[in-house]
Symmetry: C2
Subunit: 472 residues, 2 copies
């Protein structure tokens, strides 16, 4: 019942005295209060039903196991990325989605075949565990074999003379700042070295770059990631934190130490790839799309459990929950498993361009790409009034671990929708363990806890239920 319409109808289309009108107003106010209480109780019940369902269901968890074990390293352009898309496409069909389709697009890609980094200590070759950054070029000939210059950041490098840097491998070794509570901010404390480091080093004439892995553990896993080249591209790789310490010590012992670096990588000028889209048609406004998604690609070195297989299977789980519980959605719920969040962020742009060109209305978009640990909250990138409406639902989700709904960022894949005024949301989870595994081979299925995953699916389904029911 839309109370405003009823009210307006009664007031303006009926002949009534003022006294009668006052009485009607009073009755309507009472009705509204009753209706509101009923709605809230009813919402609580639907949300409780969602969690009763999800906390006993292991489909999303099993789907994630498949993605991590049968399609690890599913970088854009890889066979694994297509295996993953096809597997999830079949799952959406099994769920009974009203439509499932591949949104095709053509884009450059890149591939890493191998990364080898080693040093000679006392005549003995020591391998340093390394993975190329994307899109590093291959080394030429037999690879690099040259001196190393260690710096603690971009400023330290920029302060050097170009001659000092010329032909050398620049080794960025500033550790993350572990004193910060959110590990996303810990990550930010050193990410400049990985993202801008190769560009700056190339401009200064360096022949290659090694970057200390941006992670929260001292271990042997290299954490790769994207780097922002401009014109000049030079071979670059992340080495594990343990190996960064080994290299730094070796350089202290011997400033003339040379590093051998061999990267075998390929640029692919044009490939055809896909975002996977599955719709659950709305019964009132089927042309308004509530998008929920994660990204199906992962780095070549990683099973991509938390980043971001889990966001994909949780988004699919939202559809399963609506189907199994028979929750009616006014608007179309559109689950999107985006391709290429990691390397060139092409999938998000491709979807935004596609919907803009076809005048498709994205009503709201929610991305799950911040790990799949215990729920913490939602952030909303929208007008204050939309933030106000959505944050009003926090108390309904508090019993399920949502400690906040507040203004904040959303996700890389849905980001391009912002230019068209689409309200965006991000699902947030406890970050403490996330940067241990991000972009590395350590991001395995066993790091995911089934209940933490389920609580995520449940909260995502619940917030979409509320936004769809009450509108923005």
């Amino acid at each position: 019942m839309d109370a405003n319409i009823l009210f307006n109808t009664l007031i303006f289309h009926t002949f009534i005295t003022k006294k009668t009108m006052n009485r009607i107003t009073l009755i309507i106010q009472l009705l509204l209060i009753i209706n509101f209480s009923f709605s809230q109780n009813n919402d609580e019940k639907v949300i409780r039903d969602i969690f009763d369902n999800v906390l006993l269901n292991d489909e999303a968890y099993n789907n994630l196991e498949y993605l991590c074990t049968e399609a690890p390293g599913r970088l854009i352009g890889s066979d694994e990325s297509i295996i993953a898309v096809n597997f999830m496409k079949d799952y959406f069909k099994k769920l009974g989605a009203d439509s499932v389709f591949l949104q095709e697009f053509i884009t450059p890609a890149w591939k890493c075949n191998s990364t080898e980094v080693s040093i000679l200590i006392d005549g003995k070759e020591i391998q340093l565990r390394a993975d190329a950054l994307g899109p590093s070029p291959s080394t030429q000939g037999k690879g690099l074999f040259t001196n190393v210059i260690e710096v603690q950041g971009l400023d330290e490098l920029k302060a050097l003379d170009k001659e000092e840097v010329q032909g050398k491998i620049v080794f960025y070794n500033r550790p993350v700042d572990m004193r910060i509570v959110s590990t996303f901010r810990v990550y930010s404390s050193a990410i400049d070295q990985r993202y801008y480091g190769p560009k700056v080093a190339a401009e200064m004439g360096a022949s290659g770059v090694l970057v200390r892995s941006v992670g929260t553990r001292i271990d042997t896993f290299p954490h790769t990631g994207s780097t922002g080249f401009k014109e000049i591209k030079i071979p670059c790789a992340a080495i594990s934190t343990v190996d960064a310490n080994i290299l730094s010590k070796a350089l202290k012992d011997n400033k003339a130490l040379k590093v051998k670096m061999v990267i075998d990588a390929e640029d692919m000028e044009e490939i055809t790839t896909y975002n996977l889209i599955a719709d659950l048609r709305g019964n009132e406004f089927p042309d308004e799309f509530i998008v929920v998604g994660g990204h199906i690609d992962s780095w070549f070195n990683s099973p991509g459990a938390h980043d971001d297989g889990i966001g994909c299977v949780q988004s699919a789980d939202v559809m399963r929950i609506f189907k199994e519980l028979g929750i009616e959605n006014k608007r179309t719920i559109r689950v999107i498993l985006f391709m290429d969040e990691e390397l060139f962020q092409s999938g998000g742009s491709a979807y935004a361009n596609y919907t803009h060109a076809n005048e498709i209305k994205n009503y709201l978009a929610l991305e799950a790409d911040a790990g799949g640990f215990t729920p913490e909250g939602f952030t909303v990138d929208a007008s204050d009034s939309v933030v106000g409406i959505i944050s009003g639902y926090q108390s309904l989700l508090e019993p399920y671990g949502i400690h906040y709904i507040k203004k904040g960022g959303s996700g890389v894949d849905i980001g391009p929708l912002k230019q068209f005024g689409v309200p965006l949301m991000g699902y947030r989870t406890d970050s403490q363990r996330y940067m241990d595994l991000h972009h590395s081979a350590y991001d395995t299925f066993d790091k995911v806890h089934i209940r933490e995953l389920q609580l995520g699916s449940g909260n995502m389904a619940a917030i979409i239920f509320l936004v769809d029911k009450y509108g923005l």
Copy 2:
């Protein structure tokens, strides 16, 4: 500066006109605002210093590794429990505690040497993974070999005729309710079977009891725990959830199936044991004690990482933080590592009795015994006014993950202080993984994340700093 005293002094001990008084009132109000802002900024800085320290410190983590690997299975009466106490005693001395002592007490204890449970399927003996409940008696002679009666709970058993139960092994097999969000409440959904089950079965003439492990995974780890016998004691054990399913299926196939059960356990009438107490003397009210602690004992089958080695090392870390940062404490901070939370809860009573007999004033007590995962909040078991004061500090701790400070329970060890009116608090963490490992061999050191541990120490230190500074 105590503002009330200053205000009273000015108002009542000075000859002043009303106009002058109004001016003075205004000045004092301004001073109070400035003072408050200064205090708050200062508190924020101290708390930030605490986290800057703790997030770079691994002493507590290393202490926990020692407890789990050198003193696993440290049940009261065991050698391991004394190894653990001595190790931590040395640590407190190293920290420079003002006093470190063993609070001795004499109490009964119990020991489990072995638990064997098996069934015959098609003539083949299948071992069921089991651990005796505490304090199960030993089986007599060659052990039990008898029929089994499976029930889904106490009511189902009580509804049976005694003849049906007589001489049999009762098998409580109701699973936990996984639909509940907090796993402490998941645990509560089935714990009656373990705690009351053996007593009720004994009263009905059963010869033994098997209980489905009260945990949140289907796995092969038995979760033991205490059981509440009255007069009659019968052998009883927990079997893993996987084995409970095996047994249940075997019983469906063959109702005449017999279980073999051999428990070798010993009651110890009187042992001498200790709570370990370390004090950091207060500089203003040294005779008022702010207690912070966990329990040093663990079940015989468990390394006791989350339950509750972590609570012990975090409590010790509070003292380390105060010492290293030179934070001045008005009241004495008393770290207590309680013995015997698990079996007979004798350590908590012994401490309460000791302080009551010696008229020692416990000003407040905080227990960390709810796992060492990412911080969630504090619960306060005290008067509304004390709850109000302490919950006022939540906003200062919000940046460090404290989502709530609210009325609620505290801990088993400090519980006996309640009768003397001591305000009690419990430190709460994310519960999702806790009941996977509680009271089992799965509760190993590697399940603990160093940053989650550190954030706990930091928040405990911060709340004690605030309570000590501003009083209750």
